[in-house]
Assembly symmetry: C2
């Protein structure tokens, strides 16, 4: 029988509405396997906590509080934007992690993040083998950008997609009501600096029963002001109004972001704004239509109140699968979502090697974008629709969602040596 | 027995998540009183439809579709921003309305809007008496700004308040997760050009179980950059992060809106942005903290997916009460919400004279704002909390809310004469 070891769980990068559901899957599954995993420690603020021996002992948390993670947005243990360097550049970082793992009897490492953290996780696994310090390093996918390869979807994306699709529909209904005498064009800016998955979700606002004119600006499509303005104008002439979904990553032909339009305030300070006001102003200048614009920013990725049930279930299942895989002896892998059918949506859990995941970005395929570059195709719709299926409302108290704040008690330091980040 | 007459219902000004619930209350109650009200006509795009004889016959809509209005945001018949002039300036507008009313046998006028429409409604009532053309003119309150006097609350506000409170809580959880290495200040811009009710709702994100540092910028409080920056800085030093809720109506001491900061793009075009980017940039410049900002814009007032149950019920009840009052022979009144107790929230329907409503704006009382000008008091909390109580989720299909689009068939024109707006 294998020795009982502790597990280290860390959240990485931008948080989501459902990353805590993955944490819940990890911790609940570990608790059910207490003959193999003693305690689950969490890095306070992600990998920084691991490097600085700032660990959280999740065993102080009640089962009920851990269960509440399933409906609490954000990163319950803190996350960070901190990318480990290459082995050659900073081997000390990795050796430090190994020291920490050894000192705290950590045999399992669960890293919950995007492409960068998959790469880090892979490196840790490689090094642990080299150093003969066996660690089961498993990556759990998370990114609202939905840009990881192999897996059908990344947890976090489905909920953002649902939020953007619903918000675009709701705002479009609003604009239509007002179009006769007031706002004719509504612009909403969404996340996704490189990949247009979130922007694409705005297209779901329209369907057979909701004939809403929507123009999408994808980061994958070079922005052409003339064709864009012509499209908006045609929509306003036909429908009396138009909704525009612009990705923060939408770019001019020279590669410059629309948002970097050189906006300056009265003092000459650069760039206050996002892409939405730039696009809205462009429409006003060229076509004279009254506009409104919104920038959803963090609201979209933290909107647990309208999370996709499918997304929540997948996030949890991937956390659970990560522990199951680790216990089964796997290493340097990532559990994935495998789509078996579109409608009804049938999915299962698969497995990808981290070497096949790290540093690959999955863009929108060409066949998901309409020929004019401003819309989504039926194939895209078939892909997206199952991902926003179902609602999974959090509990409410006094009209507000009852999200959990954990105790987050520290693990006693053993090394107690400083490490400079 | 009174003669059977038709009713005219019109939506006015910015629409909300629940104005259609009032429409539902009007139409369902009228249908139950078909011995007194024959048909409910609706002005297409509000009062403009009435002036141009562009009326919608709601009797073509099924009971089920009318019931769906209760959970459909926006203005189902179209609204407009069109303020009737004074009698002396343009008596022709009022005479035209009288002609329309006469031609279509309209004996009841239900005008669903804010302060301006209360005034119009009052004028119509006055004129109808003068012209001996009896019209029961009833105003139904609606405004997300919550700035009408006498009534405890204006339908539309509770749902925006809930949305802003929840969004601010969710985004604050997100920012806290990231604060160690990334965003430390999150700024959300909310509606309310004159009154700070919506901004105040952001304060509900924090409570005894959610120790969230929130700084609110109210339109009622002259903006002081130094004290503001000091407050944000103190919060970041204590909590590692800070959330800022800024009203679009926040103003400098010279009365200028923060949003009018003189923002110019590279071509010298004026003002793209809102107050949020101005405030965020100010923080970055002075304190160096990384920020994110969101502008909720129409999303907040159309977010039927997370409407307040209390708000929906009150909107419906006021629509119903308007019809009951009209049938009972009332004229030139507005049904109001009367608060009987805070906790539990007990409310009933009252009645206000339009002459006491028109052209009065209800600002946040001084005792609702903390002494430093950046927060809400317990008294404010007691006022606000009941208004966001309860959830009233719309039905979903394929992961999306199933909002209704009515047939909106036209009433045959009788006058068929042109009227220049």
């Amino acid at each position: 029988m294998a020795e009982i070891k502790n597990a280290l769980y860390a959240q990485s990068g931008g948080v989501t509405a459902v990353i805590n559901a993955s944490a819940c899957g990890v911790i609940e599954t570990a608790r059910k396997n207490s003959d193999k995993i003693a305690n689950v420690y969490a890095g306070r603020n992600g990998i920084i906590g691991a490097l600085t021996e700032d660990l959280i002992d999740t065993s102080y948390e009640t089962d009920a509080d851990i269960a509440s993670l399933k409906f609490t947005p954000s990163g319950a243990f803190g996350s960070c934007r901190y990318k480990l360097k290459g082995f050659e550049e900073n081997i000390a970082q990795y050796e430090r992690l190994m020291e920490i793992f050894k000192a705290h009897n950590i045999g399992y490492f669960f890293y919950n993040g995007g492409g960068d953290s998959a790469d880090t996780c892979h490196k840790i696994s490689t090094l642990s083998e080299k150093m003969n310090l066996p660690i089961h390093a498993i990556h759990i996918p998370k990114t609202v950008d939905n840009d990881l390869p192999i897996t059908d979807v990344c947890p976090g994306f489905g909920s953002v997609a649902k939020y953007i699709a619903i918000s675009t529909r709701e705002a479009s209904y609003d604009v239509l009501s007002m179009a006769k005498t007031s706002t004719k064009v509504f612009v909403i800016e969404v996340m996704g600096r490189h990949a247009g998955w979130i922007a694409a979700a705005g297209g779901l606002a329209a369907d057979q029963e909701n004939d809403i004119p929507i123009v999408i600006l994808f980061p994958e499509i070079e922005f052409n002001q003339d064709t864009f303005l012509a499209k908006v104008d045609a929509n306003v002439k036909k429908y009396e109004y138009c909704s525009v979904v612009v990705s923060e990553g939408a770019r001019w032909s020279d590669g410059k972001f629309l948002a970097e339009q050189g906006t300056r305030d009265a003092f000459g300070h650069a760039q206050l704004g996002g892409a939405a006001p730039v696009v809205a102003n462009m429409i006003k200048e060229a076509l004279g239509y009254k506009y409104h614009w919104a920038v959803a920013d963090y609201l979209q990725r933290s909107a647990r109140h309208i999370a996709s049930k499918t997304d929540v279930e997948q996030a949890y299942a991937l956390g659970k699968a990560a522990v199951d895989m680790a216990i089964a002896g796997e290493n340097a892998v990532m559990p994935t979502i495998v789509r078996k059918s579109d409608s009804p949506y049938v999915w299962g859990i698969g497995k990808a090697k981290l070497e096949d995941i790290a540093n690959i970005e999955k863009m929108m395929p060409k066949e998901f974008i309409t020929d004019d570059g401003f819309g989504i195709t039926e194939a895209c719709r078939r892909y997206l629709l199952p991902l926003i299926e179902g609602e999974d409302y959090p509990p409410y108290k006094n009209g507000m969602p009852e999200y959990i704040t954990l105790k987050n008690k520290s693990v006693k330091k053993i090394l107690n040596t400083e490490f400079k980040l």
